[in-house]
Amino acid sequence: MAKVKKIIKNIKVDADRCSGCRGCEIACSAFHAEPKYSSVNPARSRVRVITHRLQDIWLPVFAGEYTPTECAGRDIYTIDGKDYDECGFCRAACPSRDMFKEPDSGLPLKCDMCEGEDEPLCVKWCLDGVLVYEEREVWVEEDSEEKKQEELDIGLGSLADKFGLNQLKDAMARMTTKE
């Protein structure tokens, strides 16, 4: 089967070295301002440093996917004697919190790895070396037609389970007319 090259972009976070300066938040928000660099606002940043000072927690977290519903359950991780509460490591823009949402519109934010730059801005602006950027090339199998079909069937099946076939059909019809 044919293999294709894929670049995996990674930011390694050495959280133990974070000094909590929030330079990463500043750089990210400025880079994504319109026009670029015209304003700063950490509340718009796609990386946020979750901070519990006296607990020795400074944890840079990157904005991931948007989710319309919050989790039903929560987790508390204890690592090295420190409790990372509830949503600590979660990257979602989620209704349960303000993080990773535009403060004015509420629209979700997502880290785009600073598409187009040699190095993500947060990495460049973190002078303490907490954030390290890596690119990895991996060769992956190109998805075959059968495999794609299979995935589509699974996806549609789960939606049909959740919403019922009729609702799904209606939604499909609406999407078709829109297009």
């Binding site: 133990d16 000094s19 909590g20 300066c21 929030r22 330079g23 500043i26 750089a27 400025a30 301002a33 026009p35 670029k36 660099y37 015209s38 304003s39 700063v40 606002n41 950490p42 509340a43 718009r44 901070t51 519990h52 000072r53 006296l54 020795d56 400074w58 303000d98 403060p103 602006w125 973190c126 002078l127 303490d128």
Partner: protein
């Protein structure tokens, strides 16, 4: 649209509860920049010289600097201004941390407090929503613990809180304002908050700070960033470690305290212990410090992490910075470092200044040892052998103003006056009624003489920083130093450094000569005033050797950030304007040449004539008359004719320019 600044002040009358969001005149920034610069102007306009520190009218301003909230590294200072209960002059302690950026993002450059609240309150600012909240349930809480209590009750984990502790509530003259790992400590801002019954100011902001030319600004920051990286990997050779880097003194990183412990004076700024730093001490101090420091932490947008999270045995966790690691231990003559980590936690919860307070406690101990205070004053105090317990006991009394604490809470100058009976001799380390660094040296240093005596800051760090503290012994060291020195205002400074010898004719106290001293000191003072207007940490600019920010790049940052077209000369004019206004304000409150004196025993070798010459030469260079008051001519150059008029009306300036002749023989 306003750039870099937000264009709004919050005016809060805590007596009536009236809160107004007031748009500011862009002219204020054009003339005085922000931070200290524009705050001085507001105090000049609104607070007449008759106002006493604890009067209703003693306005209290919390101000961000002009560049706070922009991407400028280390632009995070909050400048707090008020008439000090200690000096009775306009004080401006500053704090780093995270508060000023939050205020800017909330949409304000300053919060201005007027009058006094009937009950203890705190102010909560969240963007457009501003409310005065009841704080009666927080009375007596520590300045650190209350920050988390407020965040919790507001359910706002990202709010930044500046708060006072018990010492502020009881109006100790050395009460500080604490905020996370930072504090505005000097000259009693906490007492003024306490007097107004403001327990805390909590802010959270989610708005944009705009830049006039953001792309240009980032280009400039790239250069600054490269220089920071360069300096962090290339410490300056030939100077002691503590001076070789950038940032505030790296007291949390460096464990070698030979220099501080042997060069600074112990007790009530009395004795040097020139062989203190033994191998045993080094071992025990290093292990205590390394054991206590959990993590190094920075202020907002700064890579230098000068503070630390402290986790010491049997002490609640807290954050420490800078020099308080040594001040209490040395003042108490306690040789183990555990004591320092212990007492500083308590002192921060009470919210007291870490420089003045230890000296005040040591002053009380001396008065007792010399029979001026008695056993009765110390009733309940642990015995003299228990130096640690005795200091803790005194600190408790001071913070609560209990017994003898009620007297020493006014600081050494005022306490000595109240105690009388010769106590004044023991309040020996003050300038303008304020306790200074415990340094006692041999030979008069003409540069430091001017810095100590003439600057309005009146506190440690004064205005030193960019010029080396001592001459380099070898010519090759001097050559190495001047070779790469882009921070200078003029190349002629290089020759002065090359000529400067540790001994002989071209050394202290006669070299640098009074005219050269004037230029060097004026330059250093200007750097400090620029930082304090822009909100930059002095550790990255005016307070260190070869810093990333300097006279040749500040104006570029200001121009790109604000859109004002400011060249170097114009920037100097703006800070000179507010600097002279500040001087005039203090002159109007009675300050003049007679007050500009270092502690008598600061140097063993003094040169009264030379000192007078230094002062006069410097005053002339500044455009001040013999009494240290700006002349009409100088004020006119700076568009401050209204100040000259006022000073003349009050008889402080007599017929303007003719002043020098009238005053020549006074003083």
């Amino acid at each position: 649209m306003r750039y870099a600044e937000m264009g709004y002040h919050l005016e809060v009358d805590v007596a009536t509860g009236n809160i107004e969001k007031v748009e500011t005149d862009p002219k204020l920034t054009e003339l005085y920049l922000g931070g200290l610069g524009s705050s001085v102007k507001l105090h000049w306009d609104r607070v007449p010289p008759e106002v006493k520190p604890f009067d209703d009218e003693n306005m209290l301003i919390f101000s961000g600097g002009l560049l706070c909230g922009t991407p400028a590294f280390s632009a995070n200072r909050t400048v707090v201004t008020f008439i000090s209960p200690q000096s009775e002059l306009l004080a401006y302690p500053m704090m780093g941390g995270f508060w000023s950026a939050e205020l800017k993002h909330a949409g304000y450059d300053k919060i201005i407090f007027n009058n006094k609240s009937p009950e203890l309150i705190y102010l909560w600012v969240k963007d457009d929503k501003v409310e005065i909240r009841d704080a009666r349930h927080l009375a007596g809480k520590g300045a650190l613990e209350v920050q988390d209590l407020i965040r919790d009750e507001l359910n706002e984990p990202n709010a930044q809180v500046a708060a006072i502790g018990q010492a502020g509530e009881s109006r100790c003259f050395t009460a500080s304002i604490e905020q996370g790992r930072s504090s505005a400590s000097r000259l009693g801002g906490g007492a003024i908050m306490g007097d107004k019954k403001i327990k805390a100011v909590a802010v959270r902001g989610t708005g944009d700070v705009h830049l006039a030319d953001g792309a240009k600004f980032f280009e400039l920051m790239e250069e600054v960033k490269d220089y920071i990286n360069f300096r962090n990997t290339n410490p300056i050779p030939d100077v002691m470690t503590i001076l070789s880097g950038i940032g505030s003194p790296q007291e949390m990183v460096h464990t070698d305290e030979k220099w501080h412990t042997e060069s600074f004076a112990w007790g009530n700024a009395r004795n040097r212990r020139k062989s203190f730093w033994t191998e045993d001490i080094e071992k025990s101090w290093t292990s205590t410090q390394i054991g206590a420091i959990k993590r190094l932490i920075s202020c907002y947008n700064c890579p230098q992490h000068c503070g630390a999270l402290i986790d010491a045995p049997d002490v609640p966790r807290y954050m420490m910075k800078c020099f308080s690691k040594l001040t209490y231990g040395m003042a108490a003559y306690v040789d183990n470092l555990d004591f320092s980590f212990n007492i500083v936690q308590k002192a921060q919860e009470y919210g007291v200044d870490g420089f003045s307070t230890p000296q005040i406690l040591a002053f009380a101990v001396e008065l007792k040892e010399n029979g001026i205070l008695t056993d009765k004053d110390f009733e309940g105090c642990p015995p003299d052998e228990d130096k640690e317990g005795r200091f803790m006991w005194l600190l408790d009394r001071l913070a609560h103003r209990e017994g003898i604490g009620d007297i020493i809470a006014d600081g050494t100058y005022w306490a000595a006056k109240r105690i009388g009976n010769g106590a004044e001799e023991y309040a020996h380390n003050n300038i303008k009624k304020h306790e200074q660094l415990p340094i006692k040296l041999g030979m008069l240093d003409p540069l430091y003489y001017l810095m100590y005596t003439t600057n309005e800051k009146i506190s440690i760090t004064q205005i030193e920083g960019n010029w080396p503290q001592a001459a380099f012994p070898k010519m090759e060291q001097r050559e190495r130093f001047v070779e790469d020195w882009p921070q200078l205002p003029d190349d002629k400074f290089k020759q002065w450094l090359l000529d400067w010898e540790p001994r002989g004719e071209k050394s202290n106290p006669h070299f640098p000569t009074p005219p050269i001293c004037s230029e060097i000191v004026d330059w250093m003072e200007m750097l400090h005033n620029i930082d304090d207007a822009l909100g930059l940490c002095a550790g990255m600019a005016s307070f260190c050797l070869k810093p990333p920010y300097h006279i040749n790049n500040y104006h570029k940052l200001v121009s790109a950030a604000t859109g004002m077209d400011v060249d170097q000369e114009e920037l100097k004019r703006k800070v000179n304007r507010s600097r002279n206004l500040h001087r005039a304000l203090n002159n109007r409150r009675g300050m003049s040449r007679k007050d500009e004196k270092p502690p008598k025993d600061h140097w063993r070798h003094r040169f009264p004539e030379l000192e007078e010459e230094l002062l006069t030469t410097y005053y002339t260079y500044k455009g001040w008359n013999h009494d240290g008051i700006p002349t009409r001519e100088r004020l006119h150059e700076l568009d401050l004719d209204y100040v000259a008029d006022d000073l003349e009306q009050r008889g402080i300036l007599i017929n303007g320019e003719g002043q020098e002749d009238h005053q020549e023989h006074q003083g």
